[in-house]
Symmetry: C2
Subunit: 354 residues, 2 copies
């Protein structure tokens, strides 16, 4: 509890992102990148190469904290995001995953019937099974020393459901979506369980020192709006209703028909991918929420001059001080970190006109 109280009371050297999330006055736009703590940085690869793999890094608080702080030191971003994975939640619930190089996550066991709900436990102590994340959060804040806020995160219940039922990535997630039609009772039971654990998990992250949290619904876009309301939004809403301690960001990738409903929730910020038209999104979201995004990650492959130009164009398109700058998706691992620096520098030099 010691770290928590220290950092709750502490003033940040740079709290731009918290002010932007709350719609308060900002002198410039805050900027960070999804997957900023990761393979783009040679310094990350150096830490990773000494370990057995991705999971050991996630589960070793000292190393997770180290790579979480790296982009703050090396890139100058306005927030850190704890290095972890959304799949630690299904693992804590009883489904172990492997992260296979160049392929992605893989679960040996999945959930397809009531009997298998024994692999979706809720009656455990979050600290017992995911204590390493909370420990990493505490260590990160110690190392950050209040320079910038630290973002905690979790997958949205629908996306976690996708992995727990499909067992791996998929273009269609047809096994996951099949259950919505063949056994909606099972689907709701599993989604409820994931939601319950996710709320506990986010609260534990906040208690450990996360200053804001983001909920990632990576597979929102594979459902039509009616199904997404029933199996996606309903559970995100339960999470946002439960989290009042810190600003909440919702990023439902591809859910262009559901942005209006997301924006009605108890959240501060809505993430937008690079395919969304900002004018349209602002129109349905209104001015009471901050938007986060949305440079195409591929822009960072272009020349420094073009990165600067396209970043400025993106910034122009938002036309509001309620903007946290980011990419429209995670940064790609083979991007030159110098291009990321140009992106960040361009944002920092941009003059807010609103």
């Amino acid at each position: 509890m010691k770290q928590t109280s220290i950092f709750t009371a502490m003033k940040f050297e740079n709290d731009l992102i918290l002010r932007a999330a709350r719609g308060e006055s900002i002198e410039r736009y805050p900027v960070w990148l999804m997957r900023q703590a990761g393979r783009i940085l040679p310094e990350y690869r150096a830490v990773r190469s000494k370990l057995s793999g991705f999971k050991e890094l996630v589960e070793t608080p000292e190393r997770a904290a180290e790579v979480t702080v790296q982009p703050v030191d090396l890139l100058g971003v306005d927030a850190a995001i704890i290095f972890s994975d959304i799949l630690v939640v299904p693992e804590a619930m009883g489904l172990t995953y492997e992260m296979i190089e160049k392929k992605g996550p893989w679960f040996n066991q999945t959930i397809s019937c009531e009997e298998e709900l024994k692999f979706a436990q809720t009656d455990f102590d979050i600290e017992d099974r995911l204590g390493y994340v909370m420990e990493a959060i505490k260590l990160t804040n110690k190392e950050l020393g209040g320079r910038v806020p630290l973002i905690g995160f979790a997958g949205a219940p629908w996306t976690i459901f996708c992995y727990m039922t499909e067992g791996e990535g998929s273009k269609t997630f047809s096994k996951a979506r099949k259950i919505l039609y063949t056994n909606p009772t099972l689907a709701h039971e599993l989604l409820n369980r994931i939601t319950e654990v996710t709320i506990q998990y986010l609260k534990a992250q906040i208690k450990a020192g996360a200053h804001m949290v983001q909920v990632f619904d990576s597979w929102a876009g594979i459902l039509g709006d009616v199904q997404y309301a029933e199996f996606g939004l309903k559970y995100i809403n339960k999470i946002t209703e439960a989290i009042n301690e810190v600003p909440v960001t919702l990023f439902a990738k591809g859910a262009y028909n559901s942005v209006r409903d997301l924006a009605k929730m108890n959240c501060n910020t809505i993430g937008v991918d690079w395919n969304m038209k900002i004018d349209d999104i602002r129109n349905v979201v209104g001015d009471t929420r901050t938007l986060q995004g949305n440079l195409d990650p591929c822009v960072l492959y272009s020349s420094h001059k073009e990165v600067e130009m396209l970043t400025n164009n993106m910034l122009d398109s938002f036309k509001s001080k309620r903007h946290i700058v980011n990419l429209g998706h995670g940064v790609y691992p083979d991007v030159d970190p110098d291009k990321v620096k140009t992106f960040i520098k361009t944002v920092k030099n941009y003059e807010i006109q609103y």
Copy 2:
């Protein structure tokens, strides 16, 4: 030339789909399924099991024709679609592909620089390299004997570009999209070449006996609307301008911001995926185009009763006689063909109220 003239002059027993495409009077909605000639049918699997693999089936006109006709006989669909693959075009241009079981297409060689444009040839005779498709079309029409029209197809240039540069399926197609920023000149040169060959290919299919054609832009949804206009729509438009012989269907999956522009093209029908809201789409498309779609393929996993109910709901949502019924994407291979029959029966029993 003999077959062509016979079938051009011939009357169809059932030409519902052609009338629906042209916006003419129809007594009931026509229905077919993307991937109807495929693994859902045991009769297809029986043919396939006697051959070395998918590509041998594609390249053997007698067998391709046989599986093309199967769903007309077995499911009672209102159109046949020639059994083939969009990747025969890059192969004809110089990039051989393999179809790897449970993984998808894989190209040993890709195009990433001007030098490699030698693998994107245009100066060849379509009949020389893709004659097997035209032969399959002729054989199919012989076997159909005018029962229903036959649909020809090709991938849209942007989707073919994705495979020729990325070399395999991808969640992000970041290698393909990188080129749009780093070497737009190369991108346009390659897209122009693909477009040129695609027009020749579609014209050859029509000459051989395709009564309508569909252009599939499977990866439209990974570009923002500005880039999709430059690298996607521009080339689709060249194709539609060149094809005046038969009705044209455009299916740009996920391109929700570009439907308005697609609908302005020289086409009859716009495909809609299951995530698109029909009211919104009809609103931007207007009443001068037919919409094709859009049942969620996963509905076919539910009970017969629910398939019927959800199909009727989908039909209700279109509120227009300008509708060709289909799924919102290809039928999934593990669907029970009896559920497909229920879907088709429900469509055939539905009373048009417009």
